[in-house]
């Protein structure tokens, strides 16, 4: 996929990625994979049964996590895609997400810790002063310190602009931060020696709403001028939540300023916090999509293994004693899982590749890549995590009754994945982002260019053995366009009403595009007699399954996308 679909080695032509060749990619994936399988995966189930809990002024994390985290850091996996100027590996994000995927596949609760650090690094890289970067980035990039994102408050979730935490200038250039934050992932723990909280708060005269938000660095331990750790800051964990899944990942209620105010350092300018958040948002949202992919992959592997072992019933046409994998309906489930996982992976890697081209490319190409990345991001996050939950749910179903039993591990994947459509902007918000921000992006050209690319992929199958796939893709492209045209002229709440169905429609069509591309690449290799024949023909089979059975669904989604708001408001709110 990396080689023939994404063309990862082409990225070597961009500034800064010269070291990339396919052997390096394989070497990294092999070793990262081995580390994940041997060190992180074995802690996944045990972590699930030892939820993070507050003890004294800290949070106790499940057995083994701290040691595994130290190893993760020592082996340098934390910083592979960060800036070499701060000790990072300087690899393309495209490769960064592949490693991230494996870490999440092995243990999503664990992987959340570095994921939040990633958000902090992105924010500081783009907007912090040189001095702040020197102070914090080296250790965040290495992972010796971890990061958090403190946005959410009881009255400010999807609407970040409603937040109330306060930041008052202390007169010495620093600020005193007070307020409460909720749902803060890895807000407190002792796996690393320091935690760098990034906190959104309001200064005294800030305008209301999102225009009055500033972003602050609030270290758990203040950092002395020589880089050593000083006194503990006035920030503490109040409690951790009891959650559906990701039990080993602490979700903390944080209190700032119980003793007068936590010391905070302003990033950039006052009231620019929301604008700054947007620069890191694409990366963070893609990473959440990657979580969906990662957990779905694990669920699929587990289900496939079970289906090959479990004997039950006599599959039609099979010998007595055949495993359930021979039942048509079990095959349907496995093919559904597989074709979704493959499409998710392709879509997300392409999304990452567009990000790399936008940051390390030049001129018009970089600008076009930025638009492409912006457009694909709500699909990766929204469609990707909805699919993730669906795939992990099917994973349970494949197991039958055992699927409902924790021992198998199948329920944990489903429970863990269930957060993904919620955080980092709910999927409802992703859908609104798609229709209100991304459809009109570049005067509609961002979507236009994606559809053109999709069409040319469909065209490339003409007359060949994959024509049926191309025809199915063409039809889906038509549905994406039909709704886009309707939305361009519709009233805002009618558009909002169709947003989520449209996210599903567009995601499905994009998944078809990925499948057709991948089938075309596989067919080319088969024709050339290159590569592993089974692997390549399986790719085509998966693509044909998706294009035959899921792509046609876009036609039936058009009605929901274009129905407008009336049907949704026909029942009055109080009568629900």
């Amino acid at each position: 996929m990396l080689e023939h679909l994404v063309g990862i080695t082409d990225l070597a032509q961009l500034d800064g990625f010269e070291e990339l060749d396919i052997d390096t990619v394989e070497g990294l994936l092999d070793e990262a994979g081995r580390f994940c399988a041997e060190q992180l995966e074995p802690l996944n189930r045990s972590g699930d049964t030892q939820p993070a809990r507050v003890e004294g002024n800290t949070v106790v994390i499940a057995d083994g996590f701290s040691e595994a985290y130290s190893m993760f850091v020592e082996n340098g996996w934390n910083g592979i895609a960060f800036d070499p100027a701060y000790g990072g590996g300087g690899l393309p994000w495209t490769l960064g997400v592949t490693v991230q995927e494996m870490v999440h596949s092995a243990n999503m609760s664990f992987a959340l810790c570095p994921l939040l650090t990633q958000g902090s690094v992105d924010m500081l890289m783009h907007h912090a002063s040189e001095e702040q970067k020197e102070t914090y980035l080296h250790k965040l990039v290495s992972g010796e310190w971890t990061g958090t994102m403190n946005l959410t408050e009881p009255n400010a979730g999807s609407d970040v602009g409603a937040l109330a935490a306060k930041a008052v200038p202390a007169g010495d250039g620093t600020y005193r931060i007070t307020g409460n934050k909720i749902f803060i992932t890895f807000g407190e723990h002792e796996m690393a020696e320091n935690i760098i909280h990034l906190v959104l708060a309001r200064t005294p005269d800030a305008p209301v709403g999102t225009k009055g938000i500033s972003c602050f660095i609030v270290p758990k331990f203040l950092v002395n001028a020589d880089g050593s750790l000083g006194e503990r800051n006035d920030v503490s964990v109040v409690s951790t939540e009891h959650k559906v899944g990701i039990h080993a990942s602490p979700t903390c209620v944080m209190s700032f300023g119980d003793e007068g105010g936590a010391t905070g350092y302003l990033i950039g300018d006052e009231n620019q916090g929301m604008r700054y958040m947007f620069t890191m948002m694409n990366n963070a949202r893609l990473s959440v999509g990657i979580q969906g992919l990662a957990v779905a992959e694990s669920a699929m592997q587990l289900a496939a293994g079970y289906a090959r072992e479990r004997k039950q019933g006599r599959p039609i046409g099979a010998d007595a004693g055949a495993a359930i994998v021979e039942h048509a309906d079990v095959r349907r489930m496995l093919m559904t899982m597989r074709s979704h996982v493959e499409a998710m992976r392709g879509l997300m890697y392409l999304n990452a590749e567009a990000m790399d081209r936008s940051t390390n490319g030049t001129g018009d190409e970089a600008a076009a890549a930025a638009s492409r990345a912006a457009l694909l991001t709500p699909l990766s996050k929204g469609w990707g995590t909805d699919s993730g939950v669906e795939v992990t749910s099917i994973g349970i179903q494949v197991h039958g009754g055992m699927g409902y039993i924790e021992e198998t591990g199948a329920p944990q994947y489903w429970r863990d994945s269930r957060i993904l459509p919620i955080y980092e902007g709910t999927n409802g918000i992703q859908a609104l982002d798609l229709v209100f921000r991304k459809l009109p992006l570049d005067g509609g050209n961002a979507m236009r260019s994606l559809l053109d690319d999709m069409s040319s992929v469909a065209r490339s199958t003409d007359g060949g053995p994959l024509t049926d796939l191309g025809i199915a893709l063409d039809a889906a492209i038509g549905d994406v366009e039909t709704v886009a045209t309707w939305m361009a002229g519709a009233a805002p709440n009618d558009v909002a009403a169709g947003a989520t169905p449209y996210l599903a429609l567009t995601g499905t069509a994009a998944a078809g595009w990925v499948h057709v591309m991948s089938a075309v690449a596989a067919q080319r290799l088969l024709d050339d007699g290159a590569g592993d024949t089974d692997f390549l023909s399986d790719k085509i089979a998966s693509a044909r399954f998706y294009c035959g059975q899921f792509l046609p669904r876009t036609a039936s989604m058009v009605a929901a996308c274009t129905a407008g708001a009336d049907p949704l408001y026909a029942v009055a709110a109080e009568r629900f």
Binding site: D23, T24, G27, E74, G89
Partner: protein, 259 residues
Amino acid sequence: MKVAVCVKQIPDPAVPGELDPSTNTLNRDDKLILDESDSFGVELALQLVEAAGGGSVTLVSMAPRSEVSGLRTALAMGADDAVLVSDDALAGTDALGTAKVLGAALGRVEPDLILAGVESSDGYTGTVPEQIAGVMGIASVTFAKKIEASDGMLSIQRQTDDGYDEVTCPMPALVSVTGGVVEPRYPSFKGIMAAKKKPVDQVGIADLGIDASAVGFAGSRQETVAVVDAEAREAGEIVIDEGEGFQRIADFLAELKVI
């Protein structure tokens, strides 16, 4: 201190292997990886050089098709360089032939200490290390679980059935390392990136002054005469405990002479 480590690159044990029916040798067309048995030697070598406060670790491997994947893994762990012997004439080489080839390659490296695994994970004759020592005319110590070096001498704990022997021997020497005695480090990200640039000196048998007739199928005195499938596992006997279950299990184990 200069340490050389013999590392065998083998087919991935996770992938079901196949024999070539015409030669009864293992099919080695896919990528070969570092034999886990040799990762312990690599780890010990790195530790010895660290403890000595300096030196180098050189890998020596004989493998088909200029295979370097396994060498890259060991280089990523921290080894400094490698010598790879790869030559079409080597196909079918037996353990003694392998020892001659490796001995010649090691002679060029001139190490103070040579480490090898006790036995490989795929061929596992467990004879190559001692034969290398024989070919090179140096001391051989087997089954090491701990190695210390000072003033040209090695002190080695040699694992036995009942415990361990303490052995001292002068350098240079060849020591085979028991599997599992240390925790091999993971290649770090930086190690993997650095490994790409580490030198791998690839040589053929001519470079080593070895004649093609001494190696390969031609020179091989070891022959696989027949291959039989392992007996299929039979269903186990189920002991239903009616109060005396423990006795029946004890009898069963006694019968197998394991207790």
